[in-house]
């Protein structure tokens, strides 16, 4: 992709579009407030580089449109383009440490399991055994 991407104009456009998808509410910040159009976008595109080219085209196109109407017409009539935009926005949003903290998500962290002791479902499993007719043999 030639030139500097994303430009400040493109980031600004993305911030406007992103806030229509992920607005402030239920105690959660809007997308632009956590930097979806800034460093988080760069991390998002690094992980999913195929989003970059169609997203760039969308942002260039959106500069000439009213943001709310643009997003809604994508959602209604251009599902593939809407998927590009929403994936970039949602993907970047959940990379935010602030957002993760607010939803109580530590990430996919390792957490050792223990197989010591008896599981607490054995009484239910006994009932499976009692009511099941057993498998049938077929010679």
């Amino acid at each position: 992709m030639s030139g500097t991407w994303p430009t400040q104009t493109q980031r600004l456009t993305l911030a406007q579009l992103a806030d229509i998808l992920v607005a402030e509410g239920l105690g959660m910040p809007a997308a632009s407030a956590v930097g979806v159009a800034d460093g988080l976008l760069d991390r998002c595109l690094d992980a999913a580089p195929a989003l970059a080219e169609p997203l760039k085209a969308l942002l260039d196109e959106a500069q000439h449109s009213e943001p709310d109407a643009f997003v809604r017409q994508l959602a209604e009539h251009r599902p593939d383009d809407f998927t590009v935009l929403s994936t970039a926005v949602v993907g970047a949003y959940f990379l935010s440490a602030q957002v993760r903290r607010l939803i109580g998500y530590p990430g996919q962290q390792p957490s050792p399991l223990s197989v010591a002791g008896e599981p607490d479902y054995l009484d239910m499993l006994e009932r499976v055994y009692e009511r099941h007719p057993g498998h049938q043999e077929y010679p």
């Binding site: 992920v22 997003v71 959940f94 993760r100 399991l113 607490d120 239910m124 007719p133």
Partner: protein, 545 residues
């Protein structure tokens, strides 16, 4: 140890290094065979995994997508065509087991007798008992964790590791099944619940399908290739097989492959084993058409590529008020149910389904699930301020019943060569023609309704139901079926091609019916059964001139 040299005839050349190819390579090499395996992809290891990075969910949509048309890796070949369900696969050392969820599920005894019991499809030429010992052996090799004695299954040798704790999601789902009086059982997975053989204990990270950084999930690069290579097998990566050439007597001479630079090589061999999955193997046989075999190699029955089966899949996600810790892994099966796996005379379909409980993954996956379920309510129901409902209501509070249906073998569901699209080596792409049958749709409708009941019995405040997934779940079966009659099967009961005496097929293509179980346990067990027979009967094996 005899390590075959490049260009020198091997005893056996195997095409594909995944579930079945790895079993064959390890056991044949251990028995003293000179083995060469040709793999079009490369090694994938912890350095490639995204599982321990915050970007893991984003990686799933592209770099780690199971769909080769999305992933577009250098080893991937295009899948074209209009299909209700498009196959997914991984092309590299380990094959689909690089990305699998590691659910380990033997077939039912009845799965081998669909014609006798239900008057549909065909019976297998083998029975469950023929796979009993191989099932036990490969379960040990794959460090399976699980609980034996499931009354819905024939008697199994105990799994080598205790079951992974079913977690809060499993307990919630099990209570629902208990209230309804329906079958459920703790999940069996090829994920080590404790350190075992080459695997470390699971750390419940929950990103199993993007590679396990703890090396707790069984994959052939850990479980089979080290011993195969130590025993002398040679694994050639970046080797895309283009043709199986034949001699004047119609015997396979080896495999012709293109390396990464497009240079053509012949790997001669006494015996050829195809293990490239039910799409790749069918494609290769069709690519190997010749004047002697004008419709494709081993295709006198006309069945090569036909009867593709894929386990069409739907989900019901239960959203509960209780916190269920539901991004926590492993992303195998927490519990499973075979309540609706068998044909029942009161239902308007034959055969059945397997259900399994899984976590919902991270917040991006949970949000996607919410949006999919509520999209019909309009933009403002899922976007804007409402976007956060997914986080507030679903994230951490949901579990998913996955429902995989047995799709019956139908000739029209098939793999053919695409007349126009080619892969990066210039070989025709695989074109998929696949429709979900009315029987399968009725089966899934019935089961989804039952799964909603199960979710409600588990205390779900709401449920999210998804229609048939348009991309498959990595189960491709049936395109080179086995049977005793050469007129209506491609390989015999020992998976040797009826038409070519030194050509074997050991991937899921040989399945006569698909059952509803996740197929890897059976693919690996059958591969072991076949190679054990090859080893026993090596003296009588016909070879090329």
């Amino acid at each position: 140890m005899r390590r075959p040299q490049p260009g020198v005839a091997a005893d056996v050349v195997i095409v594909g290094s995944g579930a079945s190819g790895a079993v064959a390579a390890a056991h044949l090499a251990a028995a003293g065979f000179e083995v060469v395996c040709l793999e079009q992809g490369d090694w994938t290891g912890p350095a490639d995994y995204m599982s321990d990075r915050p970007e893991a969910e984003l990686a799933w949509i592209e770099k780690w997508s199971p769909d080769p048309n999305t992933r577009r890796g250098p080893a991937d070949y295009p899948l074209t065509g209009e299909a209700d369900v498009r196959p997914v696969m991984y092309n590299g050392v380990g094959g689909g087991l690089v990305q699998w969820a590691a659910m380990w599920q033997p077939l039912l005894a009845s799965d081998f007798k669909a014609r006798t019991l239900d008057g549909v499809a065909d019976d297998w030429p083998i029975n469950w008992s023929d796979l009993a010992e191989p099932y036990a052996q490969v379960a040990r090799e794959m460090s399976v964790s699980g609980l034996g004695d499931d009354p819905a299954l024939p008697e199994l040798e105990p799994y080598p590791n205790p079951p992974i704790p079913i977690g809060r999601i499993g307990m919630a789902a099990a209570r629902g099944m208990d209230r309804l009086g329906w079958h459920w059982w703790p999940g069996s997975n090829a994920i080590a619940s404790r350190s075992h053989r080459s695997l470390q204990a699971c750390q419940r990270r929950g990103t199993c399908m993007m590679g396990c950084p703890e090396n707790a999930k069984a994959t052939p690069s850990l479980t089979h290739w080290p011993s195969a290579l130590a025993a002398g097998a040679r694994l050639v990566t970046g080797a895309r097989v283009a043709q199986i050439p034949i001699d004047e007597r119609g015997r396979a001479r080896g495999a012709v492959y293109l390396d990464r630079d497009g240079v053509e090589h012949l790997q001669p061999a006494q015996v050829v084993i195809l293990a490239a999955n039910a799409v790749g193997t069918a494609r290769l046989l069709l690519l190997s058409a010749s004047p002697r075999f004008p419709d494709g190699l081993a295709n006198s029955s006309g069945l090569v590529g036909r009867r593709l089966m894929q386990h069409p899949y739907r989900t019901v996600t239960a959203v509960c008020e209780d916190f269920l810790d539901s991004w926590q892994g492993p992303w195998g099966q927490s519990i499973y149910s075979l309540e609706f796996a068998e044909t029942h005379p009161d239902r308007d379909f034959v055969r059945g389904t397997k259900w399994m409980v899984m976590p919902h993954g991270g917040p991006m996956f949970a949000a996607a699930e919410y949006q999919e379920a509520h999209r019909h309510e309009g933009f403002d129901a899922v976007w804007g301020p409402a976007f956060h409902r997914a986080g507030a209501e679903v994230f951490g509070h949901a579990f998913t019943w996955g429902i995989q249906a047995e799709d019956l073998p139908e000739d029209a569901n098939r793999v053919v060569l695409d007349p126009a699209v080619r892969d990066s080596s210039g070989l025709p792409a695989a074109r998929i023609e696949y429709r979900v049958s009315d029987n399968t749709r009725r089966m899934l409708d019935f089961n989804v309704a039952r799964a909603v009941e199960a979710a409600e019995a588990a205390g779900a405040a709401s449920t999210m139901v998804r229609d048939i997934w348009p991309t498959g779940i990595g189960h491709v079966l049936g395109t080179t079926r086995m049977g005793d009659d050469p007129r209506c099967s491609v390989v015999d009961r020992w998976c040797r091609a009826h038409d070519v005496a030194n050509l074997y097929i050991i991937d899921g293509g040989v399945f006569v019916t698909g059952g509803s179980a996740n197929p890897t346990a059976t693919i690996m067990a059958n591969a072991l059964r076949v190679v054990d027979h090859m080893i026993q009967s090596r003296a009588s094996q016909e070879v090329p001139s």
